[in-house]
């Protein structure tokens, strides 16, 4: 185990370790949903960082692996519900792509909770709150991610 890994382990044992979670949010639904959560003052853990993309179909699986490589503890890809995609069909490709990706990550030994995908519409502020809260709890329970991580 490298020094970083030991450090990470040590950090996990400390109460104050906080996971870092990356959310890829499509501009039209999930980003708007998160905005709505804000407007409604719906509190959720401050661990999530939203990265805005035009469509969930823009999220390249390589971005997700890269995030794990660079030390993220959990990733959420979120977009419009099927049928609601601003670009008509983007999320259908997202769905196919990440159904496969999810299984691949699991097959590689990732804990399934570390990578999730969800449909969150612009009106689902509470759902955004609930999803990221749950995700944060799941990942806190798992501790810091070391898998796929660049320890160099």
């Amino acid at each position: 185990m490298s020094i970083e890994a030991v450090k990470a382990d040590k950090a996990a044992s400390q109460e104050n370790w906080e996971p870092k979670i990356l959310v890829f949010a499509c501009n039209w639904c999930t980003y708007a949903g998160a905005d709505l959560a804000g407007l409604s003052r719906l509190q959720y853990p401050p661990n999530v960082r939203i990265l805005r993309v035009p469509c969930s179909g823009r999220v390249n699986p390589q971005f997700v692996i890269r995030a794990f490589q660079k030390g993220i503890d959990g990733v959420l890809v979120a977009g419009c519900h099927p049928g609601d995609c601003h670009y008509a069909t983007g999320n259908y490709f997202t769905r196919r792509r990440y159904l496969v990706m999810q299984r691949l990550l699991e097959f590689m030994g990732m804990d399934p909770a570390r990578f999730q995908a969800r449909w969150i519409s612009g009106s689902e502020g509470p759902k955004f709150q609930q999803v990221v809260t749950q995700l944060t709890q799941d990942i806190k329970a798992l501790g810091p991610n070391r898998k796929l991580r660049d320890m160099e």
């Binding site: 990356l22 959560a37 035009p54 971005f63 995030a67 670009y87 069909t89």
Partner: protein, 659 residues
């Protein structure tokens, strides 16, 4: 090194209450490429924007990050601010530290920490931003309407009235469509032909409208503002320029065949117009049935034609015309009820569809408006109407509601009661849905004033017994079996998409749903547009609709077309995909993934080891691309990249967050 300026907004206390803005600004000043960082009470205000503009000047900033509210709110504001400071508006990124941070995280320390991360991501991204500019494409001011039913006619008239040339392409010999087959219209019971025919004539006589009947769409190329449409003019065998529509030919033609217009209830000749009020009133020869075309003998029509208009040698002709916009209004078909064993698999002649019933009660129909049973031409006394035949039936039919059946069945039942005094009209229904102006009242009148009998329940079986049809079903309200001895049964069959709807959608290049109805760009906010820019929808081709809905959608589509054609050119989005041709292998996966058909293959020539060689690469049409970025993920070698959201930008954000 770039020269990035970072501006942290307090939003009054909205942000500053739970985020230490000063600390965020101070921390951001240390980020790579950041040369200036400050915080201010209201960045979006006039003085706030002045802070930005002055800093740009003073510190020679070449790009900025504004950390404030959601970009969905003020992105345009700060882009304009950039522009007025002389910078490209796309060299600005926003960090959302209000909706995504201060408003949701009460812990100031953690909120501040998160705000710093969000700013860090935005800085990392903006460093990779490049100036983006809009370009424009010309708009050809001519519209095409596919389908000459009421929706197509209405759309064409509206567009034409606005001063644009519009062509209606109709595959039948006459315009008019389904509405021409209908007898009376609900809820007013005015005669369909009386309100439709004037519109057909208006269209025919309008100086801006060209009727292109008996023609079909062969091929559509190009894109918004510049569609190249190839139309197949089917051989009519009649020279339209000579024909006066006198009717001698179809009177004398010796061949009778079942009339499509009359839905098999009547006949027509081999040379025919589909119905008397046809527009144009010029016949076509049905070559499959014409004696001359089958045997080489006859030629009665040609001999008798006073103007010598009959021309057996005509061939299909292709014509390519350029259009700026396309309205698709191809209407619907009826569900084939022969899949239902309980209704007799379509074998009983006196079990007919609602549309056939329209022809039976129509004064110019096969029975001259007298209600007669198809089997023995007797007047039926007891008529059973069955609703939801094929609609709302996941198992054998369609899951959706056909929307019009409740009303036209009420209309039919009313008309039966009106025309046959001692008759009985019994309606089997699942629900009665009448959400339209004066619809519910109409239905109530049918029940209360005309005494139409409504039985809630499904029909389980119809069978022939002597000259009667025994209709067995259940009255679910009374909870008992019902059996009716009927003379005729009218099925309210579902409205379904045209059998060739999918072909047309693929030809023009827009999407359709699992039932082959055409898909609107957004179910609520863009109901008449398709995903393909410049292509609009009107009428029942988009989903079951009655006449008023079709007409209003047609006018809406026309308004969209006029809006487009009113411009000489159209600005294109700067956030679109771009191809790196040196990397692109031309595999074409992006083409199938693009929802807007914005990508094509093109051939390029390049010098390889001293030889000029050709190869294919993807090309993005800037007029069509909407910037979703789906193609960039389909492209394994990253030859496609989305401007404004490039791989480099997103990776920079990911990296910045993680480190």
């Amino acid at each position: 090194m770039k020269r990035v300026g970072v501006f942290i907004c307090h939003c009054g206390t909205n942000i500053a209450h739970t985020v230490d803005c000063e600390k965020v600004a101070k921390t951001a000043a240390e980020f790579p490429h950041v040369v200036f960082s400050t915080d201010y009470k209201y960045m979006c205000s006039e003085p706030g924007q002045m802070v930005i503009k002055n800093a740009i000047k003073e510190h020679k900033l070449d790009r900025i990050v504004v950390a404030s509210c959601s970009p969905r709110m003020h992105e345009p504001t700060f882009r304009k601010c950039m522009e007025s400071a002389g910078l490209n508006p796309y060299l600005m990124e926003m960090a959302n530290i209000r909706e995504h941070c201060s408003w949701v995280h009460p812990d100031k320390e953690k909120g501040t920490e998160k705000a710093i991360d969000l700013v860090k991501m935005a800085v990392a991204k903006v460093v990779k931003n490049t100036p983006l500019t809009r370009s424009s494409i010309p708009i050809h001011k001519r519209a095409l309407v596919i389908g000459g039913g009421i929706a197509g006619i209405q759309a064409a008239l509206d567009i034409a009235d606005a001063g644009y040339v519009v062509d209606i392409v109709e595959k039948e010999p006459s315009i008019g469509g389904r509405m021409a087959q209908v007898d009376k219209t609900f809820p007013t019971l005015d005669c369909s032909a009386c309100i439709l025919t004037p519109k057909m004539v208006d269209a025919a006589q309008h100086p801006n409208i060209n009727l292109v009947t008996y023609s079909e769409i062969e091929k559509v190329e190009g894109y918004v503002g510049n569609f190249e449409v190839t139309i197949r003019h089917k051989a009519r065998s009649v020279d339209v320029s000579k024909c006066t529509g006198c009717g001698t030919c179809w009177e004398k033609c010796p061949t009778k065949v079942a009339s499509e217009f009359e839905l098999g209830l009547g006949t027509r000749k081999a040379i025919y117009t589909p119905f008397p009020q046809a527009v144009p009133n010029k016949p076509v020869i049905d070559r499959d049935n014409c004696r001359y075309f089958k045997t080489g003998k006859c030629m009665v029509c040609q001999k008798l034609c006073p103007t010598g208009a009959v021309d057996y040698t005509q061939e299909d002709q292709l014509e390519t015309i350029r259009y700026g916009a396309i309205v698709v209004a191809t209407g619907f078909d009826l569900f084939d009820h022969s899949v239902y064993g309980e209704y007799g698999y379509g074998k009983y002649p006196d079990v007919i569809t609602g549309l056939q019933f329209e022809r039976l009660i129509n004064a110019s129909g096969p029975t001259a408006g007298k209600i007669k049973r198809p089997s023995d031409h007797k007047e039926p006394k007891t008529i059973v109407f069955i609703k939801c035949v094929g609609s709302r039936d996941e198992a054998k039919g369609k899951p959706y509601c056909s929307k019009t059946c409740c009303m036209y069945t009420a209309k039919h039942a009313t008309l039966v009661k009106e025309k046959i005094k001692d008759s009985q009209a019994i309606v089997f229904y699942m629900d009665v849905r009448t959400p339209g102006k004066n619809y519910e009242e109409f239905y109530q009148r049918a029940v209360d004033e005309y005494g139409v009998q409504y039985v809630r329940g499904r029909v389980s079986k119809i069978y022939q017994k002597g000259d009667k049809l025994i209709v067995k079903g259940e009255d679910t309200l009374l909870g008992k079996q019902v059996e009716v001895e009927a003379d005729m049964v009218v099925l309210a069959t579902a409205m379904v998409a045209r059998s060739d709807a999918g072909d047309l959608a693929r030809k023009v290049g827009f999407s359709y749903d699992q039932h082959d109805f055409f898909t609107e760009a957004h179910p609520k906010l863009r109901p008449v547009e398709t995903h393909t820019a410049g292509v609009y929808l009107a009428g029942a081709c988009q989903g079951p609709k009655d006449i008023p809905d079709s007409v209003s959608q047609a006018s809406a589509a026309a308004a969209k077309v006029c809006g487009l054609l009113s411009k000489n050119e159209m600005a294109t989005e700067p956030i679109i995909s771009a191809v790196n041709e040196s990397i692109c292998s031309g595999c074409g996966l992006c083409i199938s993934i693009c929802p807007y058909k914005a990508i094509d293959l093109k051939t390029i020539t390049e010098r390889v080891h001293g030889k000029m060689l050709e190869r294919q690469v993807a090309a993005v049409n800037s007029g069509l691309c909407q910037g979703c970025g789906a193609c960039t993920v389909a492209c394994r070698s990253s030859a496609l990249n989305l401007r404004g959201f490039t791989n480099e930008q997103i990776l920079a954000e990911v990296d910045a967050l993680c480190l």
